[in-house]
Symmetry: C2
Subunit: 355 residues, 2 copies
């Protein structure tokens, strides 16, 4: 991507994942692959560039992917790319999170009958509203989650379900932020989360930036910390929640849920209701992205696994509803988790005031 | 270490961890930090060099550390270093494995009343015998383990308890080798084992070298493979086994044991009887080595965790006896695992023929 735009920090949000600039022709996006060592925003001008950024994990995290896809649709409209083509391109990037497909389909409906500048302006307004709404949702669910957490001291989280994975504020880390804002003393243990190290690189970065105490642990240490009573609760995000309450999230989430159960520690999921896919009856129906073995076999171009030996690497796993203590949403706390309570929270509709 | 010895592959064992050369003045040691990309042997001429090699993980794995310490004592005798000083130096390197202290203490007793060339020759003969005995033990326990495993298809292992962690042949991987030698079709899933990646670098390397099918998985994937029924049994090694059957082993072993139990998959430990420490009543009494946070926060000198954020990293954890299905030793299979059965196997004494 050759470009002459000056690099800068986004206005108004020190680490917002992306901003659609005023002319609706450039998205400035934080390059998460360079964190924590470099805070760099790259300009994207086409839907193809957005799709490449999503696939290569410049941006990741289910709600953030939805917002990125929405901005990608705006860029498509702005550059005259047919929207059905843009939709197909974006949907093919990463299949597990429900947000990309859902956002792209909604924007397809909105676009019906519109064209030219009117189309661009309408889609851009919708995308910006989606972004703002996601932040508002996270603030609400964060509050509900913090109340439910009570006065726990140490929360384990896996991967990054923070400001960097959403429109801002974060889902799982939004709960932590809300707990701290309410005067709580909660500290965070962050699984490093191989192979992309989202916990080590991203969760640690954004919590440290906010002055929230965080320590990084290897994924394989979690059991040992549980056994020593050093973890009071687990809070993670979600890429897709099935109608029965099964939760698809970053690979390793299921192991953490098993360990939490064995040690009688509550396991919470924090996710806005747009993460719930009522068309998906259970976790078995969630498409699980298989990523390239090279992401495991190599670190920074250095081979860690001998030549000829393969790695197997699913990007996500499914935690069955029975292992989930509660789900924090912007419409309240779903507890216990099952088809009935999921149906009820979806039927409740959005909260009366959007922000 | 400046030296002019030609680098070479050890005679008679394609990847023996170390060899004490004939003059008893040089140990050629495989540098495991360079695997899998480079197979390089470095010469060690003093006990201090041996201690440095142990501390920096040129050699690792509990039985291998015992053998390395034995050779270190020979080098001390050869260079005129007081043996009590050598013993203290070696014991301080890595505290969790029982082998270093045990070997060094035994050699102290043997040395009593000896000096000069007689002392060197006596210690060298004892050290070489220890090395050979360990290989013989692994072959015996491997056979017992393979019989107990039966016709399982897929074994998960954690870290490296292979030829590279022992005198040769391996404990956990010795069981795999014995199963293959007996005509079994067993395949291996190897946890990559952060932060040193002993599974990715070492287990994969030595199994691939022997033509045994192996795939590497991230540590956080194990739960997902269990849940899909893709793991039939777990076999790991041990750094120290307490008198009640609790097992100290590489960090992450406890998490795997929990997951195995939740999914009703047998969890086996393979270790020669010199791993059992009858002076250690239970796992709580095993000293757990805390290693430098930098081993987690950095990969190949590149910072993965933001500046100012700490990592917590214990090198080992303890799996309680109740989660261990059986222990494979050179004196037979300990099953069920508890103080009674442990006492019995220790009391049985060594098998009649040493090799």
């Amino acid at each position: 991507m050759s470009d002459t735009l000056p690099e800068r920090t986004l206005s108004g949000a020190a680490y917002s994942i992306a901003e659609l600039l005023e002319g609706n022709d450039v998205v400035l996006m934080l390059d998460q692959l360079r964190l924590p060592n470099e805070e760099r925003y790259i300009p994207l001008r086409t839907c193809q560039q957005m799709a490449d950024a999503i696939r290569s994990m410049v941006v990741r995290g289910a709600p953030a992917l939805g917002i990125a896809a929405a901005y990608g649709m705006v860029l498509a409209a702005r550059t005259g790319m047919p929207l059905d083509q843009a939709a197909a391109l974006l949907k093919a990037t990463r299949p597990t999170a429900v947000h990309v497909a859902s956002v792209v389909d909604q924007m397809g409906s909105i676009a019906a009958g519109l064209s030219g500048e009117q189309l661009v302006r309408r889609l851009a307004a919708w995308a910006r509203q989606l972004h703002q709404q996601d932040v508002a949702n996270n603030r609400r669910l964060g509050k509900f989650g913090a109340e439910r957490l009570g006065s726990v001291r140490v929360v384990l989280t896996h991967c990054n379900a923070g400001a960097l994975a959403t429109g801002g504020y974060g889902s799982a880390l939004g709960v932590i932020r809300a707990a701290r804002e309410a005067g709580g003393e909660v500290r965070v243990l962050a699984d490093e989360t191989r192979p992309y190290l989202q916990g080590a690189r991203l969760t640690a970065w954004e919590l440290a930036k906010d002055g929230i105490p965080v320590e990084v642990i290897t994924d394989n240490s979690a059991g040992w910390f549980f056994s020593r009573g050093e973890i009071d609760a687990v809070v993670v995000g979600a890429d897709r929640i099935a109608a029965n309450g099964d939760v698809a999230n970053k690979i390793g989430t299921y192991s953490v849920a098993c360990l939490a159960r064995m040690h009688e520690v509550p396991f919470f999921v924090a996710a806005a209701c747009d993460t719930i896919d009522m068309a998906c009856a259970s976790g078995e129906h969630v498409p699980i992205e298989q990523r390239a073995a090279r992401e495991v076999t190599h670190i920074a171009d250095c081979r860690m696994v001998p030549d000829g030996v393969q790695a197997r690497y699913a990007g996500f796993d499914v935690t069955p509803a029975r292992l989930v203590t509660a789900i924090f949403t912007e419409r309240g706390v779903v507890e216990p988790v099952g088809p009935e309570t999921i149906r009820r929270v979806v039927a409740a509709g959005p909260p009366p005031v959007a922000r």
